[in-house]
Amino acid sequence: MESTPAQPAAGTPAGVAQLLPDELETPPLSLGQLTWRRFRRHRMAIFGSITLVFMVLYAFGGMLFFSEADANRTDTGARLQAPTREHPFGTDTIGRDILARTIYGGQISLLIGLTAMLVEVLIGVGIGASAGYFGGKLDSLLMRLTEAMLIIPQIFLLLVIAKYFAQSIPNLKIMGRTFSGSVLVIIFVIGITSWPYLARIVRAQFLSVKENDFILAARATGTSTRDIIFRHILPNSIAPIIVAATLGVAAAITLEAYISFLGLGVRPPTATWGNMLEGAYNYVESAWWLWFFPGMLIALTVLSINFLGDGLRDALDPHSRAV
């Protein structure tokens, strides 16, 4: 409650709770309000959210100051320059401005994180929900598939698929901008290798939620299977899915950085935070600005998303007593 507790009125025995008329008349808090109250108290989550807002502003607001041409313009006369007034973050091995590239690379990295997460959620929820709801043979089949995916190291799978599809998709023009087709490949590849954990979470949720009386009651009013799944079970399972999806964004950004660092990720001319690190390892000591800025941005973003995910996990848990 925002209001400070009232001083006990004179004459009332100490220790007896005093309710203000206001408090008595306040309607009970809704689920959303309770969640927000718990989230608000999670300092790291608030820090993460604010940092993320800045990241998005940085990546998308930066477009107002630098054009994409700035990010891709090479200037061989100004190779490997340390940060100066003209190039605040320095220049890279072929003289491109690192500040401009982190802005445009940030857009791609964030978009890859979000869309790969969407692919992951789509597949993971689809498979987990079918396995958990229908059970039986379908469940066994889908769960064996999920386990098969889980035993293969994800990074290995990523590299193989990325290499297999590399350069098979031409560049795309969207809204007047050219994107390397490899962006789509990376989104797809990260999406189809990340879903197994989510599928297991969703399956477990479905298994427990579907046993509730209200599901039986809904069936008794003639609700179809589709409505039972999407209108009754899914909304009751949403909290862990939101948390897993949030953490999935961070994982996707990291994975993109991995494969791009290894040279199998997003191809030039499109910049990402990940592929800016490619080649930087040759200059770890001599040109620290090459890896420091994109590396910091990745670390800060991933850290913030993880804090946000933690905060959501606590806030969305109805059993959490913290208010």
Binding site: L31, L216, A220, G222
Partner: protein, 346 residues
């Protein structure tokens, strides 16, 4: 019966039904195949429900009351459940033979059900309004405006104050009695012809119980609905039912008009059950009577009368063969080899 199959799903067969009857159950047997073996939950149950009638199904926990009703509604999970045999005749077709989507159309529209625990039978993340709208949307295809009108009307009908405001609230903002009222409103949404109430008052306190019983009674008369009321509260039965079915271990052991049953119980189990009731007009310094022993293990295939181990009148024939329901008077049947009033065996 003509053997030519027809395309219309509802005219596939038209078993004969007495026109007075709205629902007729014949020889229903439901089993569950679990790791420990087979649970014989319902063992050849037959009864009927007339138009506008209220019947009560009584019996102790685990005697198959709920499983019978769930079998009628086809809400038994299969597997592990299995409806081994039987017919559920409603409106000229056998509900056990129609397709699942035909059954979905029937549930909530023709036959509605309310459950024991209103605390868990409402979806916690949907507002009351959205849950109330569901049957209206599914079965009647009403638009938003109409749904809202009808929802308010329904909440008013079940005695919830300030219905327009209440529609936007969540189940946790409702008290137990109000939730049960909301459940009843949901089940009445499409004016069903049969309402199955599965112990709807068990989880509520006594004053609320009385209100709910009265509410269902009033609505039943208003909309001419037939009601099957499952309970183990014999007080509620006396208050509202016209006919009573007594179940034991998956069998119907006695069926009678409500007055007959209380005044002249003809099955040893019913007699013991009634004797176990606390009475206001009897001495209270004695212990309540109880029935010795425990109900039989449902994992064993039934043979003979299920009550035989606890029955003071049991003799050899009881162990060998399950007695059929034998007419013992006008609209009064009991499944016992002994005529308990005269002491003659049959």
């Amino acid at each position: 019966m003509p053997s030519t199959p027809t395309a219309e799903p509802y005219k596939r067969e038209s078993p004969f039904m007495n026109p007075e009857r709205i629902l007729e159950i014949n020889d229903l047997r439901t089993r569950f195949h679990i790791a420990e073996g087979t649970v014989y939950a319902v063992n050849g149950v037959s009864f009927h429900l007339n138009h506008g009638e209220t019947i009560a199904v009584v019996g102790e926990s685990g005697c198959g009351k709920s499983v019978t009703m769930m079998s009628i509604m086809r809400l038994i999970p299969i597997p592990p459940g299995e409806i081994a045999s039987g017919e559920v005749l409603y409106d000229g077709h056998d509900l056990l033979k129609i397709t699942e989507s035909e059954m979905e159309h029937l549930r909530g529209k023709d036959i509605a059900m309310i459950f024991q625990d209103p605390m868990t039978a409402l979806n916690p993340v949907l507002t009351i309004g959205r849950q109330l709208a569901e049957p209206l949307r599914i079965h009647l295809g009403l638009d938003r405006e109409k749904i809202r009108e009808r929802s308010i009307e329904l909440l008013e009908q079940v005695g919830i104050a300030d219905p327009a405001q209440r529609l936007g609230e969540y189940p946790h903002q409702f008290s137990g009695g109000m939730r049960q009222r909301a459940m009843i409103a949901m089940s009445l949404a499409c004016s069903p012809s049969i309402l199955i109430a599965d112990e709807p008052t068990t989880a509520l306190d006594v004053t609320i119980q009385a209100q709910i019983v009265e509410l269902v009674q009033r609505i039943r008369q208003q909309v001419n609905m037939s009601v099957i009321w499952i309970t183990h509260d014999l007080g509620v039965v006396a208050e509202m039912a016209e006919r009573v079915i007594v179940m034991y271990a998956g069998f119907i052991v006695e069926e009678a008009g409500v007055d007959n049953l209380y005044e002249d119980p003809r099955h040893p189990y019913t007699q013991a059950l009634l004797a176990a009731l606390p009475r206001v007009d009897k001495r209270r310094d004695k212990r309540l009577q109880s029935i010795p022993g425990a109900p039989p293990n449902l994992l064993v295939a039934p043979k003979g009368c299920p009550f035989v181990q606890r029955c003071q009148f049991a003799f050899d024939h009881c162990r060998e063969e399950m007695p059929p329901l034998i007419s013992v008077g006008l609209n009064h049947q009991a499944a016992c080899w002994l005529d308990v009033t005269s002491g003659e065996t049959r």
